[in-house]
Subunit: 491 residues, 2 copies
Amino acid sequence: MAKFLTDRDENYAQWYNDLVIKADLAENSAVRGCMVIKPYGYAIWEKIQAELDRMFKATGHVNAYFPLFIPKSFFTREAAHVEGFAKECAIVTHYRLKNDEKGKGIVVDPDAKLEEELIIRPTSETIIWNSYKNWIQSYRDLPILINQWANVVRWEMRTRLFLRTAEFLWQEGHTAHATKEEANEETQKMINVYADFAENFMALPVIKGYKTDSERFAGALDTYTIEALMQDGKALQAGTSHFLGQNFARAFDVQFTDKTGKLDYVWATSWGLSTRMIGALIMAHADNHGLVLPPRLAPYKVVIIPIFRSEEQLTQITEKAVKIKNQLETAGISVRYDDRDNNTPGWKFADNELKGVPVRIVIGPRDLENNTIEVVRRDTLTKKTISTDEINCYIIGLLDEIQNNIYQKALKFRNDNTHYVDKWSEFTEILDKKGGFIMAHWDGSPETEEKIKEESKATIRCIPMDTPDEQGRCVFSGKPSTKRVLFARSY
Amino acid sequence: MAKFLTDRDENYAQWYNDLVIKADLAENSAVRGCMVIKPYGYAIWEKIQAELDRMFKATGHVNAYFPLFIPKSFFTREAAHVEGFAKECAIVTHYRLKNDEKGKGIVVDPDAKLEEELIIRPTSETIIWNSYKNWIQSYRDLPILINQWANVVRWEMRTRLFLRTAEFLWQEGHTAHATKEEANEETQKMINVYADFAENFMALPVIKGYKTDSERFAGALDTYTIEALMQDGKALQAGTSHFLGQNFARAFDVQFTDKTGKLDYVWATSWGLSTRMIGALIMAHADNHGLVLPPRLAPYKVVIIPIFRSEEQLTQITEKAVKIKNQLETAGISVRYDDRDNNTPGWKFADNELKGVPVRIVIGPRDLENNTIEVVRRDTLTKKTISTDEINCYIIGLLDEIQNNIYQKALKFRNDNTHYVDKWSEFTEILDKKGGFIMAHWDGSPETEEKIKEESKATIRCIPMDTPDEQGRCVFSGKPSTKRVLFARSY
């Protein structure tokens, strides 16, 4: 099974694609650029959804649902937004099919042309702020703290499963506030929620920071981001939170009366995280045997595999396995008993490794005699035989250890591959040789940023929030700088 | 607040619309026929989703996600399906906008025309069976038991919030089986799941049955349905489960090798339930004061409202309210403490009645002295003062009682409005005077069915599963019949 994976170090891109397909996460569909998310991949998305949804609600947000369609004219209202978003998108122009008069199947009915074309949402700021206009009159109507789970479409030319697809699933938060301070606070609160989620659930260390002018969300005054390092040395933007100022309120004329009776435009934020995170999960942790899922996001935390020679042995092992399964599930640990009868134990070992199940329990005839089980952890592939009596306690501890170990491993990898660079020659050399994060000084000008991008294909991933000020000179122009910023080639 | 509702008995349609708007469930959007589901409405949908999802998983199903777009040619593959579905739908013809050369905003780029138009899914059988083709080779790959939570679009001309909108949210199950028997069993299993959900969670009695040839899902051999009676005497189809035979397998060439090595087409089912159920919830239970939510689907089961004259009283009451809230939440009962300071208690009573919160707890200064609370149930609007000591026990029992009472009330209403009719004059008279369900004999011919529809605007809602055979004569044609079927005017 695993031998069909391309070697990760030989061809990372092919390894990634093989893994997505062979671990049954997703596949390309008949529609160009759109994927089918298969049950195992979707089960990971459900885990991600459940945790994020809980975190959003714990921070006072509620869910709602806005239309899939956006009237074309809505995009033109916010100038920067239309520049960034309205170009590559799916456009609905007609609303009826009919039987071809020449008998050639069905055709678009030319009489059913829409007066105004509808865009499939690439993001929902415009349609949502058009609704908020009717919801907000006074400061008493604020804040509005809404999140939406939805599908969006961006007509990408080059697509890759999970990382870049025409249609993808995501959540998009859209909040409205009475003051600039409050909106700013919300923007930061949500990037912190994303960072918390990435580190504590995805086991993915991230660098929090804000985007430069040129990398900002179309229509935002500030974009906060969390940036993660993948195993091939490229960065992946894992979630963004935008301070939109009063731009959308102005565009859709959303004003409110403040406590003093003064009329003002409403302040806005938006923030989103998508199925792309499943790509990040794979690229950050998986190996040549397959996925390595952090226990907190694994559809099954434990798989039990029986080894037997006779039907009688299988019956006895099954009895024991079911007992262990029930026992673990009572403690909140999801377990699969893999008793598929058409595969060898070896095949099942490989299959469950491919699928990244954090813990494998193997029960054979000798285990019945000795009252033991064999436990194999996916992250290190090490084995241990333990007594049946201590299962729950051991597995609970082991799952925590695995979750932490995956995180520490990714953190070490990132630390080993973060370079503080002061010379331009070194900058490009590192990128060409091994990639990774580069912390370097930048003179703050868009021109230099653009030239660096042209010459090295690296972009400023973010201006990190937690980095101290430091006098230095721009790695490219030599002009003075007060802070290092984070460069990398990226997905 | 409630006084702004149109009287239910005067204008049912207007009452319904008023209620959806004023209870903050949903509103029309800027896009024709598409609604915005507001947070309170969406919270009910989340409750519906959680329960159904649990029931689907308990019956062995898993979730997945398939593309929003369906290539036009896919529809033509299954002849009956295209007749039923491909007509009124949203059609994507282009994938890019551009700046108008004359400076008039943005326009559709004529160079970005799709080679083949894409239909926004009105239902996903075709795109899913096109995927299943690659997933199924042998009987070992079966069954496939997949559900999808998704948005779909049907370009309806006359729309009504929740009941009929261009875009709506739903779940659609699509299963694949090795035998006809198994597929048939699945079809029935899922209509039973829907009936269980309707009765035990929505407090909505339903009649299970199958559709006549002319009312069947486009492409199905059998369509099972659950039919509920609304308070205006009209029927509402609340969920359907389809036995698709081998139609889609043939259309998409999905064959498998059975246990004997023989090649055969795969057997299919599909089943769906949508946000329309929120409309049913309203129309079945609500009254002139507003919604009456069954506790099991209420976003908040309990609201606590303080009555106070001084800040000091409020502080004391809040302390008690928070304690009660925590206590109830520990028992799994969701509670809202409505301490909004800009509204009178009376306004809050009306607002929470409008929103259908099952139980209202009122705490005033005298309650502090007496160690009591006042409890008002939404379904009957009756009050009772109880001791604080017995709160949890009392509220848990009361919520069960309310859930059951709402069901019994709806059941009594349905029984009172189900008529066994043998004469055609009586048939039309009942429909015109009071509506309701009519159980009558039918000769089994589509011609008679069509004539009955023309003359009475009533359709055969279903041929009930639990009705005994009975010799009789068709209420319209007088020809012999062996079973009564269910007629009604419907949504």
